[in-house]
Amino acid sequence: MDLSLLQALEREKVLEVLQRDKLLRNTEEDRIRKLKIELQEIRRKGAKNFSLQYSERTCARCQRPLGKFWNSGAVCQGCSHRICNRCRVGVSNLDWKCTVCHAYREVKIKSGDWFLEEKAKKYPHDTDSHETIGEKLLKSYQRLSQIAVVPPTPPPYYGSPTFNRYGEVKSMKKPFTKSMEDLMFSITSHVRKFSKSQEDLRLKQELLTVDKSRRPSIVQKSFSDTNINTSVINLSNVPSLPNLFKKGKNDDHSCSSSGGDEELSQSSENSELKRGGSFRSSGADSGFHEVSSVTGELELTVDFNDTTSCLEITVKCCRNLSCGDTKRKKCHPYVKVSLVLETTRCIKLRTPVKRNTTDPIYNEVLQFPLDRSLLTQSRLQATVWHSGTLKKKVFLGEVVIRLDGWMFEDGTAHSSCWYSLSPKPECPEGGAIESSSSGELLVRMKFSSLSQPTWDCHTDEVHIRLHDVGQLTVVVVGAKNLPAKSNTSQNTYIKGYLVLPGPRELVQKSPVLKRKPGPEWSHQLVFSKVKPSELHICTLNLELWDHTPFTRSDRLLGGAIMEAESSWRLVSQAPNIWHDFTLPVQTNAHGRRT
């Protein structure tokens, strides 16, 4: 049984249902565990104690003596022990069981063991029949995704002023060609699920090889940090409907720019690949520098191509850049554009390096395959870097553009826009912590708004009172790819802080989870009395602690932060629905102990 026959989007939907089922199953497993512990307790109390002398004539449960004729007890149908009148449970004098046998029976019913036994009768060869189909399916997909998946890079820090040219979202009018839409759906959801199977990947690579010969595309130079992203990016250039594909201008640019810079840009990019992680982390750990003063502007065109379902960013040029190498008065700038989706997914493309200029001209079209509907949840981050000697990179400035208010129109030539470059936000969460990013926390979040829509029967209007308070439920489903160090210390728990505007801070703690290398808490942290309006500006800190039983202080293994407004908007705008997030864990955020 697998889901290979379903379309990617359907598969995703089914897996979402199965994920919900898993939460219910976890609750159920906890409940059953408790039931069985209680049963053990009853059994222990009611067992004949072999250290004590007892005669045949005592009740097997309470050890009270039984008479020969009077109160002589009777044999339990279940365990064949002689039982006194008091230790019987049952409806009639004939139909009864001893307390222990009764407890066994109850547990068998309440735990659903009866069902598993019945099922095993029909499917005797199914050795793991206690696993539900949903469980198996989910596991098989998680396993597959672990093989194929490279952990997502943490999103670049986002905090600089946003640029919004039009302010209003315009409804998408242009219809897609259906086949194209399906194709793009499948691609985007593949990125999201990080490609469920290796076969899919192979398929894409096959497409890629065909494509290379046809079109010397710029994206071949534009590497990304994960091979999955690479394959997806390349796929975007496969003209699946060749006649629809615009050939011409883009190609010219890519050809003209593939000059002598090629080698350098490739080698510097490769060094990034080796270091792994996001450019920010790779920059921070060794070769990252920032110019003392960020100057200059960047000219960009943002456009959405409905024909190819690609977000097309044209990097035109920069001017008045700061000198990357101040000593030798040299600057070899290149521009890197990251498309960040839903805080966790990130596609990065870059231009080649232009040498010896602070006013480089690129005219590069970078294409991000993307379903149009996802635009509203994404933002662009364009960073300008100096590619220095010995693969040293110098940060020259960045621009962050939110796309949710962007108006994309087709057919019309987009006028390009100048953006002034801003320095990296001064924030400890920025470079320093992301550099030690390790592992992720899988988090589900739901905002339950307690405000009920009220219906006004006179005006036939529905009012939603916005000032009412709601409740934020956070389930830390589990942690993935934690560093080995935190895996060995296995008594982990999660502490969640919700920092609200003003000096309010709500703290919640999950139970300690003992001795599990891949911890799954599935515990709910419930933050109540949260106003919907506050949600946009609050920060959720999730800390992963190691509980050390015999010392007073627990060890902080790492923490994850959720504060991006776009993610909160998702949670608050669709209340009462679970949203999944993968938050990168940053180790030793503050190095604190309590």
């Binding site: 026959l5 359907e10 089914v14 249902v17 309440k110 009866w114 029909k122 189909i133 629905i577 679970w578």
Partner: protein, 224 residues
């Protein structure tokens, strides 16, 4: 969509009972379950993708064999919703085996959906956890009498042949919806007791009154 669950994610219940709704596409499985769990009606047809489930917590009062009302239990119902569409068939039938009871649904305004009940019965026999699981036959859309194509007598006869209860429900008005589910729940609860009280029941005769004979139900009728 998931609002009712926020208060019941804890493990404070006595039984987890998994029921599953099946039947042709468009008979109203999703709206039926929506009516049952949320007491709301959504007239829009949104086809179910593969599978889904809804939850509801109910209080069940056990009736003791001597006629007195027994203890009350908290029951957490997991109500699986399946896609009726043919292309999801292999997925949905795989989920049959994890359900303890079944709501076999057809559309009272569609003769075809009624004719397909027999096929669904054989699917159940092949894929459910046992040969004769607890089933309730549900004819939905009883609120549309002028479009009715299946007569009550017809459906009742079929249900009798299989030895299963029959209800005519309306997800739009909510009539008989609760009753159908509670009847099924009752059957499952009784089945549980029977299963644990018979230490080695004959697998071909799990103790239920339900008989699931796919082959020629008409002949069975004559046996009595």
């Amino acid at each position: 969509m998931f609002s009712a669950v926020s208060t019941m994610t804890d493990g404070d219940y006595d039984y987890l009972i998994k029921l599953l709704a099946l039947g042709d596409s468009g008979v109203g499985k999703t709206t039926f379950l929506y009516r049952y769990t949320d007491n709301k009606f959504n007239p829009k047809f949104i086809t179910t993708v593969g599978i889904d489930f809804r939850e509801k917590r109910v209080v069940y009062t056990a009736s003791a064999p001597n006629g007195t009302t027994g203890k009350t239990f908290k029951v957490h119902l997991q109500l699986w919703d399946t896609a009726g569409q043919e292309r999801f068939r292999s997925l949905t039938t795989a989920f049959f085996r994890d359900a303890m009871g079944f709501l076999l649904m057809f559309d009272l305004t569609s003769q075809q959906s009624f004719l397909n009940v027999r096929n669904w019965m054989s699917q159940l026999q092949a894929n459910a956890y046992c040969e004769n699981p607890d089933i309730v036959l549900v004819g939905n859309k009883a609120d549309l009498p002028d479009q009715r194509e299946v007569q009550e007598k017809q459906a009742k006869e079929l249900a009798d042949k299989y030895g299963i209860p029959y209800f005519e429900t309306s997800a739009a008005t909510g009539s008989e919806v609760d009753k159908a589910v509670i009847t099924l729940l009752d059957l499952v609860m009784k089945r549980m007791e029977q299963c644990v009280d018979k230490p080695s029941p004959d697998p071909a005769n799990g103790g239920g009154a339900t008989k699931l004979e796919d082959a020629a139900p008409d002949q069975k009728k004559c046996a009595c």
